[in-house]
Symmetry: D2
Subunit: 279 residues, 4 copies
Amino acid sequence: MFQSAGIVARFDKKESLKLAKELVDHLYKKGVEVFVEETLPSELHKHAKAIPLNQMKTDFVITIGGDGTILRTCLALPKPEPPILAINMSVRGFLTEAEPKQALEAVEKCLQGKYIIEKCMKLSAATKETKFPDALNEVVTIAEEPTKLLYMRIMKDKEHIVNCQADGLMVSTQTGSTGYSLSAGGPVLDPQVNSFVLTPLCPLTPFHPIVFPAKTKLTIEIEKPKRILVIIDGHYRQLVSSEPLEITVTKSRNATSFIRMQENFYHRLRSRLLFKGNG
Amino acid sequence: MFQSAGIVARFDKKESLKLAKELVDHLYKKGVEVFVEETLPSELHKHAKAIPLNQMKTDFVITIGGDGTILRTCLALPKPEPPILAINMSVRGFLTEAEPKQALEAVEKCLQGKYIIEKCMKLSAATKETKFPDALNEVVTIAEEPTKLLYMRIMKDKEHIVNCQADGLMVSTQTGSTGYSLSAGGPVLDPQVNSFVLTPLCPLTPFHPIVFPAKTKLTIEIEKPKRILVIIDGHYRQLVSSEPLEITVTKSRNATSFIRMQENFYHRLRSRLLFKGNG
Amino acid sequence: MFQSAGIVARFDKKESLKLAKELVDHLYKKGVEVFVEETLPSELHKHAKAIPLNQMKTDFVITIGGDGTILRTCLALPKPEPPILAINMSVRGFLTEAEPKQALEAVEKCLQGKYIIEKCMKLSAATKETKFPDALNEVVTIAEEPTKLLYMRIMKDKEHIVNCQADGLMVSTQTGSTGYSLSAGGPVLDPQVNSFVLTPLCPLTPFHPIVFPAKTKLTIEIEKPKRILVIIDGHYRQLVSSEPLEITVTKSRNATSFIRMQENFYHRLRSRLLFKGNG
Amino acid sequence: MFQSAGIVARFDKKESLKLAKELVDHLYKKGVEVFVEETLPSELHKHAKAIPLNQMKTDFVITIGGDGTILRTCLALPKPEPPILAINMSVRGFLTEAEPKQALEAVEKCLQGKYIIEKCMKLSAATKETKFPDALNEVVTIAEEPTKLLYMRIMKDKEHIVNCQADGLMVSTQTGSTGYSLSAGGPVLDPQVNSFVLTPLCPLTPFHPIVFPAKTKLTIEIEKPKRILVIIDGHYRQLVSSEPLEITVTKSRNATSFIRMQENFYHRLRSRLLFKGNG
């Protein structure tokens, strides 16, 4: 039974803050201890404690926003991550579970235990010196200056498998396979496939996405340039210039758990494939 | 220890028949019982018995040809299939192990037990009434008349996952992922990924390759037209008009075993990616 | 001023025949001489003469159906082709101008001269011996047996430009560039681009769509197999086994003219890109 | 007759400087007035005047390097640009004419007038306030922070044609169509096609390359973010934050002229398609 809840919300949208307040009040009435991200405005603090995301060790977390809000929440939450109920308040909400008008009902179901958990693999990326935060969607290795070519050697465990000249390389989870990786020409990975996929960005040399078993230790050795950018889930960005310049990617021991009313990966995939944006 | 060998060879190439004869003689001298495919010319029958492919229950089988020769051999061999040592006598020999001049040495290593076995998953395709031969590379569902659109519904186990209008759909193994599926825009599957991939042929509606766990029972329901063609590994072709018109694809209990001197999937992949054909 | 009209309609749909009848009656009342395709049922013959498509030398032609109806009409109409007003009675009506409920209004505008003509380039394909009907969308060269590889040499005018191993090759007009060619990975050609595009079908060797100037004489020499299928606009299908086996494609002297209320190529493109089919 | 020559060379490669010196000496002996880029070392100044690239108004210019050297030379040369003889001293020399060992012979042919001129269209990009240098290959509009999504509206002349959400958009010439645009999934444009092509970078929404007539005024309106990066030919990079934020691209009045011994576009294309890099 959930006895504490964390609330994260976009603060650039009125409706988002309004819904956050409603949920705080509702949970408070139900006797649930509520925490809100400290950056949220003070009118939300009446029935909730304000804490930073990385201290939100609650029984579950509600995100109000789109995929961006979910991704930055996962990056920051303490490990193991509390499960996430994602309310959609965005144009791009492929990972979200419920629309705003269904929010109260979904929260109610959470409190009643009427839900399932979708556990999503994460990726762990590191250099010899630095470990990056785990990725729910993807790890991108790219030049600091957009469109500059990277010269790379790719190793699977200890085996050199292929070289690649491209704008960048992306390693994507099953969850991420319907996101940026799809835009770059990668395949969809069914959530039950125990794999991740390596997708190139604008390869100069013929190169195709490669699907690896999740147990693989993938190493990307960058021969040129001397400094590159690692981007995790589109939010965490880190310049890297270690020597030798190489990034390893493995399956993380951590996972992200989504609260779902039912399995709906393919429902979400269909909406992604037919996504019109504001077009 | 290999005490019997089967030999399959392209019979449209002199060099192929010459090499077949050399290998028959060599194996015979070594005391190995040799069988040759009955369609091979009679000068090969001196030290070998001629039998049809589907009775070749030998300790191992040597194919002399290219990928086409391997695929038709796998389709016909009795199950469980004897392991295959594939000698390349073709422009397209991505699956082969040794070049003709290395053939004797490779056979010698086989007899000495100095080899490893690469076990390759196969796919089992069927209608309600008919089971097709297992596929080493891929199962293609396509219109009988080239370029006619198929209207399809795709089911994962019992779940309807997506509809698709396309020239056809291909389900490909890891082995097949570097073959026809790659030409159609599919990803490469590492041999250790326990998966298969669904790749569309010229989809009218936005559709991306999807990678499924090997345990999936994939069902392709064809709404239109009333009759379609199922093609296994490019060689076995069967018109299907059952009602309802649906094809199921699952992982087969059978596998194909290749005799390799060392693991070389990525070596073969690189030669595929840079393949120039006769261009 | 339009004094005669031809009517072509899908005869597998009641609504289509009903609308055809309405239009016949309307045009008859307005004093326009009406002709209907002879395959249409006799209740349409009261105020109209039944003639075969290839004799329909009327001032304009109304098609009631989808892209398929338009394509088969263009293939058969006498040259130079009368302009076409295309009413959409199909799921796929990317080339059509008006929805059924707008049909009477559109016809009225035609009679009042309130329209523009969109002139669409056609392609002329031929072997040394045979000239095929002109293509509004595309000329496809493909194996008779689906998925069999073609070995081809491509010549631009007299210059050998590149070899290609693929399931087939398509040469597509600007109009066709949003159709089958798009499904095969080809680019969109703006209607004002004086060009056509060569798009491969599942190329084994690395090969990209190539855009040629409209004045190009493109020759596809097929080295293997000995017999291939030429498909024009998805409707006309002809087996070819001339020796040498080669297909030339040039811009045709004929064109297809569509009656439009306004320029709307990009409107139609957007609906094509976001097309959901029955998915 | 060429009476003056400019020489541009990679200065990070000994062979390049050695060849530059040989050519200076050779041209000097032949009575040709020689100019070298001022950044080249002083041992080259004995028989040549050192001047900046943007003052190199010579009868022709010799570049010693790869495509990068050519592109930065074209960006800087005074207009109209002197014709370029490009000697390859790089892994990527798709645009070059001669290998180092053919350099003297090629220069000799230039002096004898035994050559043809390949005239290549350039693109002119601008905001309301700023005109960028002309592009020989492509104009890229992209976010300053790699992988950040751009929200764009695309106008053809005055007509809104389509919206696009992508990492970026590229407008490429025929020359550029075999370069970065190809890596991003664009088609090849024959040099005689009077067109340019719009190719998206990792589009989130379904979007295909579009080929426009060269006379088009293409406008890219960026709705988000407020500041973007314009990159010309991979070398010129300019942050733009005008309001409204829009980039127009048209055919330039300037062109780049290459000195060729014969027409060889498709020869160069084949080497591009089969390019192995250092893989």
